[in-house]
Amino acid sequence: MTLTPIITEFWDDPKLYTLDGYRSHGGYRALASALKQDPDAIIGTIKDSGLRGRGGAGFPTGLKWSFVPQNDGKPHYLVVNADESEPGACKDIPIMMANPHALVEGVIISSFAIRANHAFIYIRGEVPEAIRRVANAIEQARAAGLIGKNILGSGFDLEVVAHSGAGAYICGEETALLDSLEGFRGQPRLKPPFPAVAGLYASPTVINNVETIANIPYIVDRGVEWFRQFGTEKSPGFKVFAVSGHVNRPGIYEAPLGITMRELLDYAGGMRDGRPVKFWLPGGSSVPMLTADHLDIPMTYEDMATAGTMLGTGTPMLFDDTVSVVKAVTRWLEFYKHESCGKCTPCREGTYWITGVLEKFEHGHGTEAEVETLVGLCGQIAGRSFCALGDAAATPYPAALKYFREEFLAATTTSADEQFDPVASYVFAGAVAR
């Protein structure tokens, strides 16, 4: 399958981030046509396109929009989830830095469709460059009459705010994000009610990922049929894949959904030094890992599910045979432990216990019995936690054990660093083995 640069097509134009640059490539054409349509027609278009959320869960975007009650007399809000903090995910930040107007145009069209007069882009605070480029794009759009009162004479009013977060992975969870945006600690809310009914300030709110919203102008401009020529029936469209790890050319590769990891890997120049893939994760640390046996599975929501994993954020991380899977999994669990918001017991206590046992393995301690106990511990967390962070924390270990049981058993006597010289995994030249 070939690469299909669409959102990324003009990224080599250093002026793309400006209003004029974006317009010179057809930008804001979709907005002009959208504002002449009935908002419901746009919701219909997005529904028909089959676009699914790119934030990880793959929920159908048009369907989500249609849950917003209309004529309810309440203000509606659009909130863009630009918190991108999932380990391995690195595609929203590049989109915001390179093509911020695609996001802004998407925000205006989406707000119009769901009848929101106020939109927020919640950007993780640790990336000021993304925040300043998005804020700059908003300002330019405002100056050109594309944001504000009576946009392009349509009678539609919209305010857009770029909002900085302050460092908390949990704020990417949509209801925690809302609490955070209201100025509270970012802890998840009980669902239902779903945000579409009672979200920001208890009003109907649509929350979508950056890449999801950046798709909207292209779909509105070029049509459902055009969009559906990419991807599969259940996973239509294209994806901004970010390929990282021990590959020769890590980076951004935009391709239709359904491309295989082997094809993407070929575009990324293969594995460094021709080494084998040991394990890889299709989209973030929260999805189960796969091995070299799974490189030919189409990267779609449905095929990844069949393979026992998920497409997630569509940002594959590949590790070669120099890497200790014990160490990798331990590090991810340390992350979940650190980021657990503490609201519910299974996740707060569970991440603590799992991490403790894994750290023993990493240092060559622990027992064979604990290798099994840990599976039970993960089972206690999965499905019993208040939000999906708990489920995510229970994912890496059982997934790794499925393919690398021997390595975990060996770790009860031999530390990860003794099994695998850490220096061999480093990517810089001059790294010397101890």
């Binding site: 070939t2 690469l3 250093p14 690195c90 605070g125 700059n136 055009w226 990419f230």
Partner: protein, 217 residues
Amino acid sequence: MAITEATREQMQQLAARYPQPRSALLPMLHLVQSVEGEVTTDGIEACADVLSITPAEVKAVSTFYTMYKRKPVGKHHIGVCINTLCGLLGGDAVYDALSERLGVGHDQPTADGEFWLERIECQAACTHAPVMTVDWEFMDDVTPTSAVDIVDRLARGEQVASTRGPVIRDFRATEHTLAFPLDGLADEGNPVDAKMLAGLAVAKERGMSAPTSTKEG
């Protein structure tokens, strides 16, 4: 520096951006850090005052988020991503080298008030591993040697540019950007680098493009 009337006015401006003023609390705390170099009791009280909530409520929020510090950060914040991908690809060695160079550990300031070192989580830049940040601007693809060199240059007061962003200012300046992002630096530096263009380059090389209409497909 201290929280002045001017700071309070800026806080009011932030609050006015939102349908409900409390939504401005996170940017307001960034503003506090831009003035005070940390989240101080004065800063907490000013936020509480402007939003008509209690200082305890502000404090509860400020302690939840890792970017807010209760000790002076110093001139430059240095972050090293130690999440799995960066850490195992060399971030661990980068962190060790910086820790040795600065003589401090995780989430600690140096005695001279010049630097703060922090092991940070995934910075959404895994394609550029191992990743370091200075005042939260990207320093991509570092090695232990290049990372220490960056710190040495900063210590000597030399100009250092982010790999995907502007010339480094200082921690407080970045915190100000987080409160008021129109800092005039959007045109400085080009954050779109070869790795972000990797797929586009291959597509051009091999003559691949996406059909722009339905018919072509």
